[in-house]
């Protein structure tokens, strides 16, 4: 059995979801979107899956389209929330997990999807690159219980940075203070999945916990803009089960997940791994 990096990556994101959680992805997030459907069809059948722009609850899409706001993403859903219903649920603390990415991510798990370079109200604050923007994250990151962060651009050396040029969505701490100091009930980033490895956040700081088999710690250190902390029990990421792989392929027949990866990453193929029937 062979596995491509994009398939494996989506499975890793899916595994961050726990059974029974209410989970949301932002729009324009195909990997997280596919991952949520993979989780629901494998280890988390009783999760409450809320689509990122249609707010459909537990839909069974026949395929994932390249835009988040498409009626195909409501297929099979008995109910779609209104915009207000979803955001109200999230800010009152009824959503357990959200997936967030960023053009920049720092060690505290703060993310930037607003601008590279300066950004502010004044004329001197012209950004070098204006990114798309944060959707609802600036409020949701405060109250949604857990955050799963991800990036497919770790290797660029520009994504995992010492300091974000702009903090769109708060991680564990910003110069203003910690979550506890700001009175936020959300617990912040729990996982950061990259195309090179998986980080957790003990004490609120990113720590390398798992690593892909074709990558070295030295490579990861070189690609990481903050001082790399490595877990004492660092291990290889667990291969996908055959069930997980089959679901990735059937949920995403158009391969929209691939739009997040560079050609180099898409060429990574793993063969003959110790794939198991079950990831438990």
């Amino acid at each position: 059995m062979s596995v491509t990096l994009d398939e494996w990556f989506v499975v890793l994101l899916a595994r961050t979801i726990r059974p029974s959680e209410t989970v949301f992805h932002g729009f324009g997030s195909p990997c997280a979107q596919v991952a949520m459907h993979v989780a629901r069809r494998t280890h988390a059948p009783d999760m409450v899956l809320v689509e990122g722009a249609t707010y459909a609850v537990n839909p069974e899409p026949l395929f994932i389209p390249p835009t988040s706001n498409d009626a195909s993403l409501t297929h099979g859903a008995a109910y779609s929330m209104r915009f207000e219903e979803f955001f109200d649920a999230a800010v009152r603390g009824d959503v357990d997990r959200m997936f967030l990415s960023g053009g920049q991510i720092d060690r505290d798990g703060n993310t930037n999807v607003t601008a590279i370079g300066p950004a502010g109200p004044g004329p001197a604050d012209r950004p070098k690159v204006k990114l798309g923007g944060g959707g609802g994250g600036c409020n949701l990151a405060a109250t949604i219980r857990h955050l799963t962060l991800w990036t497919t651009r770790h290797r660029s050396g520009r994504t995992l940075v010492e300091t974000c040029d702009f903090i769109t969505d708060m991680g564990h701490a910003t110069p203003l203070g910690t979550r506890a100091e700001l009175g936020y009930a959300g617990e912040g980033p729990q996982w950061l999945v990259t195309e090179l490895g998986v980080f957790d956040f003990p004490a609120g700081r990113a720590r390398l916990r798992q690593i892909f088999p074709d990558v070295s710690v030295a490579e990861i250190r070189q690609a990481t803009g903050f001082a790399l902390e490595v877990a004492g029990d660092l291990r290889a990421v667990m291969p996908p089960s055959s069930a997980e792989l089959a679901v990735v392929r059937s949920v995403d027949p158009l391969g929209v997940r691939k739009s997040e990866f560079s050609p180099r990453e898409l060429s990574r193929v793993f063969t003959g791994g110790a794939a198991q029937d079950c990831a438990c």
């Binding site: 915009f83 109200p121 959707g135 903090i167 700001l182």
Partner: protein, 306 residues
């Protein structure tokens, strides 16, 4: 504006869009690739509107095209772009980087609270969040307050009362009753919070038909209604048509080359077409009808996105 008595509100597109003044705060309905008020966007550009302050949640070609045409002074959305599939919004990005527009990037939750304050006639509502994010730095108008009951620090965000909201629906009647499909995004909130609401519909039908389908936005909130078939193109308007991904790509590719590329696109599809009938002619009846094939089969639907 106070609630509107029932009357025939059918208005020609040019006259309806003429209600939008230079410098107006304009709310854009729909979101991302769905139900964007594109016919009105194109008409605003044909009428050379200036200094608009755009507000909305997550948007794409509507905002980018208005920026490319030089109609915008200030952008206040939570996102402007074409998602992972097509990427950053070229004209919006260029204008932000050159400093030719003010970017007051916001957050879906904050905009929702600001619209609700306007709907309730309140000067502000508080949100929990924002602190810890730099988004607050883009909004000197926000203020921290202490809750008189719990002592919590919250962020007060002022009421947002757009001068005009531009909404598109698949069907409506001559009084302005609108039926639309989920997601409504912020359309209902814009309809209550704004001073005037201009609607386009793909088809004007009888009041009985709208009532049977379900009135989502009632006539008493509507100022003017105009029938414009494919008025959301190249965004989708289900259940009638899916989005035109190839056309979005064509726009982005043109606008990415710079102001000249964007100007060429606008000359071909906006100024040069003269009207929405002209626009549909340039896009082609065959292309437009293909977008309606999504409902024939899963294969046909997938084919539109392959």
């Amino acid at each position: 504006m106070s609630l509107q008595p029932p009357r025939d509100k059918r208005t020609a597109l040019a006259d309806a869009v003429a209600l939008v003044a230079d410098g107006a705060i304009v709310a854009l309905g729909g979101g991302l690739s769905a139900r964007l008020p594109m016919a009105m966007v194109r008409e605003l550009i044909r009428q050379s509107r200036r200094d608009l302050h755009l507000v909305g949640s997550a948007h794409s070609i509507d905002v980018d095209m208005l920026v490319a045409a030089g109609t915008v002074r200030r952008c206040e959305e939570s996102y402007v772009g074409f998602e992972q599939d097509i990427g950053l919004a070229p004209a919006y990005r260029r204008a932000a980087e050159e400093g030719s527009i003010e970017v007051a990037e916001s957050c879906c939750v904050t905009i929702l609270a600001q619209l609700r304050a306007a709907e309730m006639g309140l000067p502000f509502l508080p949100v929990r969040g924002v602190r810890g994010s730099d988004i607050g730095r883009l909004h000197p108008e926000y203020a921290e307050i202490t809750c008189p009951f719990t002592g919590e620090t919250l962020v007060a965000v002022p009421a947002l009362r757009p001068d005009v909201a531009l909404l598109h629906a698949p069907v409506g009647d001559r009084y302005g009753n609108l039926h639309l499909e989920q997601p409504y995004v912020l359309d209902e909130r814009f309809a209550s919070a704004s001073r005037a609401i201009i609607a386009t519909v793909d088809e004007l039908v009888s009041p009985d038909e709208v009532a049977a389908a379900g009135v989502v936005i009632p006539a008493h909130l509507i100022t003017a209604v105009t029938e414009v078939p494919y008025g959301a193109h190249p965004s989708s308007c289900y259940p009638r048509y899916a989005y035109d991904r190839d056309h979005l790509r064509e726009y982005v590719a043109a606008a990415q080359t710079g102001p000249d590329g964007a100007a060429k696109y606008l000359a071909a599809y906006v100024h040069g077409t003269g009207s929405e009938a002209g626009y549909r002619e340039v896009i082609g009846a065959e292309r437009l009808s293909v977008l309606a094939t999504w409902s024939e089969s899963t294969a046909a639907w997938k084919e539109l996105f392959a």
